[in-house]
Symmetry: C2
Subunit: 143 residues, 2 copies
DNA sequence: GACCATATGTCAGAATTCTGACATGACGCA
DNA sequence: TGCGTCATGTCAGAATTCTGACATATGGTC
């Protein structure tokens, strides 16, 4: 039996970093009246308007049902808007409102500060390598 | 505004990898009748017997209340055991049962295979560096 | 000894997220 | 045209996890 320390595995440390990141983001976003999943949704829409609920769910790694809840709350808060009828198929293309763009931009500054803190001890080259490694790891598991 | 792709951030890719890892672990552990949080609990106990509920919660990055639910299910399944009265203070030191050790050992093999898949494209030296970087990142956020 | 801060286990309730299921619309193919 | 497959939005219900609160036990401090 190898009996290696489970805390010294990539899997465990990934979980640890993600927990710390989530906590940091929740704290920073509370000021803006947003939760982390809500921010993820706004960020995706900021870069790709007209995404459907299902596409947003895949982008944020949650179920369609969960994203639907997020989307309804954002809609109720006036940060996003969806047409009442689908222009094609069943997908409802979602867009940020002007208010949504303002909130996103304000929140993004704080989130980028956290991202900077996250990679504070890495130089740009190391960060680039890390990013590529993470992408490789996700693909290695998916297939 | 930088307007960089949010998907090309360390934070986003961390979330992505962790989602893939969680899915892979859930699938592998289902065969053993375990969930990922339950496995995390067993693994911690396997290396440090007599951990209390609160210590296990911190080790698995969940609340005390959540870990308590996990612990009760494991107790009901006969994989762990706790004294009914605290030997000191209020903490109840938990231990694996013989059955718990058997299940853990069987499950660990599958989880280690996933860990191997995760780091498949990294040589031992790169893995060591990655591990250190992840630990640094968690600390950078915590303080 | 008295008091206060801290840590633990636990109850109660809410929030979040999930799985299962179903109806609907688009598309490919016989 | 008709049919099967797939994706989407949504409803219903359960599972999971969280926050808030409280009683209890320990240890330090006066």
């Amino acid at each position: 039996m190898t009996q290696q320390d489970a805390r010294r595995t990539v899997g465990y440390q990934l979980k640890r970093v993600q927990a710390a990141l989530r906590a940091a983001m929740d704290g920073a976003l509370r000021v803006h009246g947003l939760t982390t999943p809500q921010y993820a949704c706004l960020e995706l829409l900021g870069q790709q308007p007209r995404l459907s609920n299902a596409e947003l769910a895949r982008g944020a790694f949650v179920s369609r049902q969960s994203m639907n809840v997020v989307l309804r709350n954002l809609e109720e808060a006036g940060l996003v808007e969806r047409p009442s009828t689908a222009p094609s198929g069943r997908a409802l293309p979602t867009r940020l409102t002007a208010e949504g763009e303002r909130v996103l931009e304000a929140a993004r500054a704080d989130v980028l500060a956290i991202e900077a803190r996250l990679t504070a001890r890495l130089d740009p080259e190391q960060t680039r390598i890390l990013l590529a490694q993470l992408e490789d790891m996700a693909e290695s598991l998916s297939q």
